[in-house]
Amino acid sequence: MADVLLVDDDKRFLDATVQLLSLLGHNVTAADSVAQARDLISKNVYTHLILDLILPDGSGLHLLEVLPAQNKTKITFITGHPSIKFIVKKLYGSNISYLIKPIDLQQLESLFEVNTPVPAKPDSSNNLHFNYLIGESAPMKYLYEMIERVAATKANVLLLGESGVGKEMVAEAIHYASQAEGRYVAANCGAFSRELINSELFGHEKGAFTGATHRKTGVFEQANKGTLFLDEITEMPLDLQPNLLRALETQKVTRLGATTSVDVECRVVSATNRTEQDIAVSGCLREDLYFRLAVFPIYIPPLRTRKEDIPLLVQYFLAGFNQEYGGEISINDISMKRLMDYDWPGNVRELRHAIHRAYIMADQHQKLLVLPENLTSPFSKIAHQHQAGIRVGKTVEEVERELIESTLEHFDGDKKQAADILGISLKTLYNRLNSYGNVEL
């Protein structure tokens, strides 16, 4: 028995198909607009989504964006034009089915047949924790425990972690674990323009300012009874932070131009890639706001501290790309070892990009991923240099030595490349190494 959401604005078709699917033994919910379907998807889990492509308030394609990442819902589009099939397939991959009008029983029943699954996919999706997270390492198990604890409360969470560790994934996992009634809404405080930040957060009434042609609800209201994820919270202008503080303290927001306030009850999960120390020293976040947001701080571990999770992540990404592109590419032990040896300063995001790139370059005969000769990206070199760590108390000589040694290590001991990147002659590099006692020249 399947849980089906059927979305179509043709009332007669909708009624008959609901009855037909019910007679076939399925649970069916009907919606006649994108808005109604969006609302239902946010509150329920469906095994099948059958969608009209063109609806009065938008395209059925918009609903794909609402589905949680790695969602297993089977998507089917109803279309009158077989040609649309190819366009949508190009845009959204092959994991989508189609019903071509006029639809008969055979077509409908075929949607619910249990097909042989794509290899590797079931295993990889079983590894998901809280529907979003992958990893069985000790740091991740600790993270899962923290998520479970905080999900049982209404506390606000501050996610701390380097760039690319998956802060948004953790935010969604917290929302998932909370089983909140409302929606998950994400907003990036670093992406809002200074002029519009209040309107984005709290909404505005029609005519509140030049260009406000419609009433708009802000992200706080949208996330009512749910979870509001505020990414890059430390990038929010300091003088605008009191407004956010007030909303958190009073649990009320007032749309720009409005005379009355609206009650909002949502968990705020905020995130930053700065360290707590950096937040305190740089003063980028008001202290009172910090304490409101960081009732429960969660630190997300960088990938280099949980390298045993790399194979799981690689297999997961690979299964996703295989499904998306309809391929059967795998990875050999040598490539996997190289991936595990690398430090991934850009964390899981960098790993995913590397797998995607290697997938595009894959050897189609042997059906194997082909990694580039050098895994490092320009960003990772910068991160490496930062990692060398200049701190007060070190001598110039120590810093120079650390810089030279880490550069050499980065280039696997290639002195020519290290000298080039350091901007010194090969002779100078040898002289320095001599003075350190690194005699294996």
Partner: protein
């Protein structure tokens, strides 16, 4: 002509779709539940949709499409 043709195709495909799905529903209703009253209301829906198709076909008959012949000159238009 393409736009005009597509409009008719669309106007026919939707009622045909409703007819198809209701015919399947009628069959299944009789097979599984034997509910005659329900089946009659389903047939009524099918008849309404058939009439809809009839209207579309009538308007199609009254329409003279724009033809573009090989020489590129246009003939009549509705």
């Amino acid at each position: 002509m393409d736009g005009e043709k597509n409009r008719f195709v669309h106007a026919l495909r939707n009622p045909l779709n409703t007819i198809s799905i209701n015919a399947e529903l009628g069959k299944l209703t009789l097979e599984r539940t034997g509910d005659i009253r329900k089946a009659i209301s389903i047939f009524d829906t099918i008849l309404v949709e058939c009439q809809q198709c009839g209207h579309v076909l009538e308007s199609l008959q009254d329409t003279r499409f724009t033809h573009v012949n090989s020489g590129g000159s246009e003939s009549d238009e509705q």
